[in-house]
């Protein structure tokens, strides 16, 4: 029986479509209405409110928490300043990714970590010799994402902190009414946005506040279907879709290193030993086998294909996550990778995808072929290689200029 998030009394009232998904054991709204597009446009043009309680959450405390996290994570967490957040992944000793998430430094010796998979047991493996305590606070803390251009203005209405100064990937505590919340300027939409962390008992009060103040800013509750479109546009990978947890795969081929899933930039290689360091150093030297790239799928060719069958072009309204073969050329003789997720991007008016391809084919602007099935027949159309990040508005990272 799936778990109900603390926001369930509200979300269940609002979810008139009855479109629910299972997310980490929770009931999670896929889309509140029968179509998700309104929610998508809220993310991009006003603000969307998303229940992110199902994320796993850990509080790491103790005088060695920074060095402990530096040992576990591929990133040197000891360099993270108080009040800052970082995104990174963590690896097994073979340098294969176990999970990814954010690490927030709330104090000299206090960190908050989010993850997609349960990681308590994994983190606890590495505590020997460290003065550190790993606390799984997943079911004590609720999470809400407020994402979109008007998100800052909404939160400013009822938070006592200077959000105009809160930088991208920074975090702060804030007082709301008579309780405290944590706000981090993070999110999974690739837009201006915040994630709010709150004790369960105050969760509904916070929801109601946001909904009330959000009305005049066109805030809407949004579900995972809309989120999925935004995260593909932003080029943000998803565990179990674009890569697999190395602890859960049955075969080695399904494991990935950070370099192979576009997270090489999160790796700080030259420092004290951390999990996977030796393997990652070796891979850095020898080169990786795979790369995640963005693909811009040629719309005119798709139109032509459908036209041949006397059909108008069809494209799913929601993001997809099937594995689609990628070829070197239209003969389909040589497969060099596979797309893992994709979507029609309403804001870019492009048909885009994230794909894992052999590293040697990852040059930007090079042309590959992606399989398209029309009228039960397999064809290919041209897909142009790009960075995974298709959409990156300036407001995501900027702060208002003070007058």
């Amino acid at each position: 029986m799936p778990i109900k998030s603390p926001f369930f009394p509200r979300t269940s009232q609002l979810c008139t479509s009855m479109y629910w998904k299972e997310w980490a054991g929770y009931h999670a709204v896929s889309s509140y209405g029968t179509l998700h597009d309104v929610e998508y446009f809220a993310f991009r043009y006003s603000a969307g409110l998303l229940d992110i309680t199902p994320l796993f959450k850990y509080k790491i405390t103790g005088t060695d928490s920074a060095s402990f996290l530096s040992r576990v994570m591929v990133r040197d967490i000891s360099q993270l300043k108080i009040g800052r957040v970082t995104y990174c992944c963590w690896c097994n000793e073979d340098g294969k990714v176990v999970d990814d998430g954010t690490v927030m430094r709330r104090g000299e010796n206090e960190f908050f970590v989010t993850s997609a998979d349960p990681c308590f047991s994994w983190f606890s493996r590495f505590t020997r010799g460290y003065d550190v305590e790993v606390n799984d606070i997943s079911d004590q803390i609720a999470g809400l994402a407020v994402q979109g251009p008007t998100s800052r203005d909404i939160l400013k209405k009822f938070c006592d902190v200077d959000l105009d100064s809160l930088k991208f990937f920074s975090t702060t505590s804030a007082k709301v009414k008579d309780f405290e919340i944590y706000i981090s300027r993070t999110g999974y939409t690739g837009d201006l946005g915040y994630e709010l962390w709150i004790e369960n008992e105050n969760a509904l009060t916070l929801w109601d506040l946001i909904m009330d103040y959000g009305k005049s800013y066109d805030l809407r509750p949004a579900g995972l279907a809309a989120l999925d479109v935004t995260r593909v546009e932003a080029g943000l990978i998803l565990k179990d879709v674009d890569y697999y947890n190395a602890l859960h795969t049955l075969i080695e081929d399904r494991m990935s290193s950070p370099y192979e899933i576009s997270l090489g930039w999160t790796v700080n290689l030259e420092r004290d030993p951390f999990n996977g360091q030796a393997a990652l150093k070796a891979e850095k030297q020898a080169g990786s086998n795979w790369a995640i790239v963005g693909l811009d799928i040629d719309w005119v060719e798709i139109e032509e294909l459908y036209n041949r069958h006397g059909l108008p072009p069809e494209v799913g309204s929601t993001a997809w996550r099937d594995s689609i073969p990628i070829y070197v050329d239209s003969s389909m003789n040589k497969q060099i990778g596979y797309a893992t997720s994709g979507t029609w991007s309403p804001i870019l008016k492009k048909n885009i995808a994230l794909a894992t391809i052999e590293k040697k084919y990852d040059q930007i602007d090079s042309k590959l072929q992606i399989e398209v099935t029309v009228e039960h027949k397999r064809h290919t159309v041209t897909a142009t290689v790009s960075k995974p990040q298709f959409y990156n508005p300036e407001r995501k990272t900027s702060n208002p200029v003070k007058s």
Partner: protein, 514 residues
């Protein structure tokens, strides 16, 4: 002391000294660093009561390998070895005595006082041991083959082992394969009928192991010991240490005592670059050979992030539970056991089932009320260890849990010491009145004094898995996943006891790899 060496050996016990000397003989510049003031580790003699000295933590020098003695010319450095195992008396609780000696005929005569059948069985037993000895010695005195690379040489080694097994002859081969995995109780019960004799025979199989006579595979422990036990060092373990020290100095090994290692230092590539000493001095060396226990080597001498989880996990689950307490007694007169004086080595046990019951206590974090005693009276052959006409009795008493319920404070040590004396009273009535000094070393004391993890004297239990891939598969050929770090202590093949073999084979591995 220099600040740069080819190799630093951590620990100046018999294995550390053996490794260092072998390496130096091969032209390496070697330093041995020893935390304690005295060299020798568990082989070092100690004054435990004013005027009374022991000859080392463990008594048994019979498993010393002559190949090491010869290759290090230890006889030239004053080592006096009799190439026969010492006489050992098995004591029964009703005054019975059987003296086991190297002479099988004499021993059989002794046994026939109690049972003719057992005397015959003993003859067969000894001839079985003699026939498997070449094969077992071959296993224990060579480096384990590299089962991962499995090169031509390794295949050849395996083939030789297989041929060696076959050459035992079909009857012996099949018997060996049948009995090795058995419990030692089953094995001995199949052959003998006299209870106290059976107890005395199985005893070496359970010493220092988390094993009762009814534990499976315990026969293997017995066979390994029986095949190895063939010598006797005059003067006990301390005499070995004295000779090893001289041999080491003769080849210019720098021996540094009162010099603990705080940390093995690794460079940016996680390769050994030296040792940080307890006084924060750094000594450089590209190779470090640790004769410490695997747990100390990987947990205490390296930072937690320097070992991968899989290694940490294997080491964590390497079973290393101390089960014995050492009791040193100073007596104001000679010891007589079951009416006999001048006994140097003796064993008690009374019956296999009593031993098993004694073992039961450790499972529940307690200690035995009537412990099994491994008795050594070193002052019989070395009267200088005690004042004139007095004597030193060294007892290794099983079983006592290393994680005693309530902890090893002074009170339980006193109680256990009394249990030992009460047990001795059965064999030596009135002994309690002649005790003038007594030292009880709990597993916790052994850990503190000698760095033995959990007081495990063998640096890890002898159990079939921990014998075949000792200590763990990734370290079974003395090298470790840390480049430049080697093991050369009892935690490596062929295991604990005074053999000097882990030190010798560990140094061979270093010489081969570099």
């Amino acid at each position: 002391m220099n600040d740069k060496y080819d190799i630093i050996v951590i620990g100046g016990g018999h294995n550390g000294l053996t490794a260092a000397t072998k390496l130096a003989k091969n032209g390496k510049k070697v330093a041995v660093i020893e935390k304690r003031q005295a060299l020798g580790g568990i082989a070092a003699g100690e004054e435990f009561h004013p005027g009374y000295k022991s000859t080392g933590l463990i008594h048994d020098t019979s498993t010393i390998r002559m190949s090491v003695v010869k290759s290090l010319n230890l006889k030239d450095f004053g080592l006096n070895i009799e190439e026969k195992r010492p006489n050992t008396t098995i004591l029964g609780s009703s005054g019975e005595c059987i003296e086991l000696s190297d002479n099988i005929e004499e021993t059989c005569q002794e046994i026939s006082k109690y049972s003719n059948k057992d005397a015959e069985a003993y003859k067969d037993y000894r001839s079985f041991i003699a026939s498997i000895r070449p094969f077992v010695d071959g296993l224990m005195n060579e480096m384990p083959p590299d089962l991962i690379k499995l090169g031509t040489k390794d295949l050849w080694t395996l083939l030789k082992k297989a041929i060696g097994l076959k050459r035992l002859g079909n009857k012996t081969m099949l018997e060996f394969l049948k009995v090795a995995p058995m419990s030692v109780a089953d094995f001995i019960n199949e052959r003998f009928e006299t209870e106290f004799l059976k107890a005395g025979l199985v005893a070496p199989a359970i010493y220092h192991s988390y094993t009762g006579p009814w534990s499976s595979y315990s026969t293997l422990n017995l066979l390994l010991w029986e095949c190895a036990s063939a010598n006797s060092i005059i003067g006990g373990p301390q005499a070995l240490v004295t000779a090893l020290e001289k041999a080491a100095i003769a080849v210019n090994v720098d021996i540094l005592t009162n010099c603990g290692a705080k940390q093995v230092l690794l460079d940016d590539n996680n390769e050994v670059m030296g040792v940080l000493l307890a006084d924060d001095k750094v000594v450089q060396a590209p190779i470090v050979a640790s004769s410490c226990t695997p747990l100390v080597t990987f947990y205490d001498l390296l930072k937690p992030n320097q070992i991968e989880y899989s290694l940490e996990h294997s080491i964590k689950h390497y079973r290393s539970r101390g089960t014995a307490v050492k009791v040193n007694l100073a007596l104001n007169k000679a010891l007589s056991l079951n009416g006999l004086s001048n006994i140097e080595y003796a064993r008690t046990g009374n019956s296999i089932d009593e031993m098993e019951k004694s073992f039961d206590f450790v499972k529940y974090r307690k200690f035995s009320v009537t412990p099994i005693l491994d008795i050594h009276v070193p002052s019989v052959s070395s009267p200088e260890l005690a004042p004139e006409n007095h004597c030193v009795v060294s007892v290794i008493a099983h079983f006592a849990s290393h994680e005693l319920e309530g902890g090893w404070s002074e009170d339980p040590k006193k109680v256990f010491g009394q249990n030992v004396i009460q047990t001795l009273e059965q064999y030596s009535p009135g002994i309690s009145n002649s005790v003038v000094g007594m030292e009880v070393l709990s597993p916790q004391d052994l850990e503190e004094r000698y760095g033995l993890a959990n007081g495990q004297v063998y640096h890890g239990e002898h159990a079939v898995d921990q014998i075949l891939t000792r200590p763990i598969p990734s370290c079974m050929r003395y090298s470790t996943p840390i480049s430049g770090l080697y093991l050369c202590g009892s935690g490596s093949h062929p295991g604990g006891g005074i053999t000097c073999m882990p030190g010798a084979l560990g140094s061979e591995a270093i010489l081969k790899n570099r």
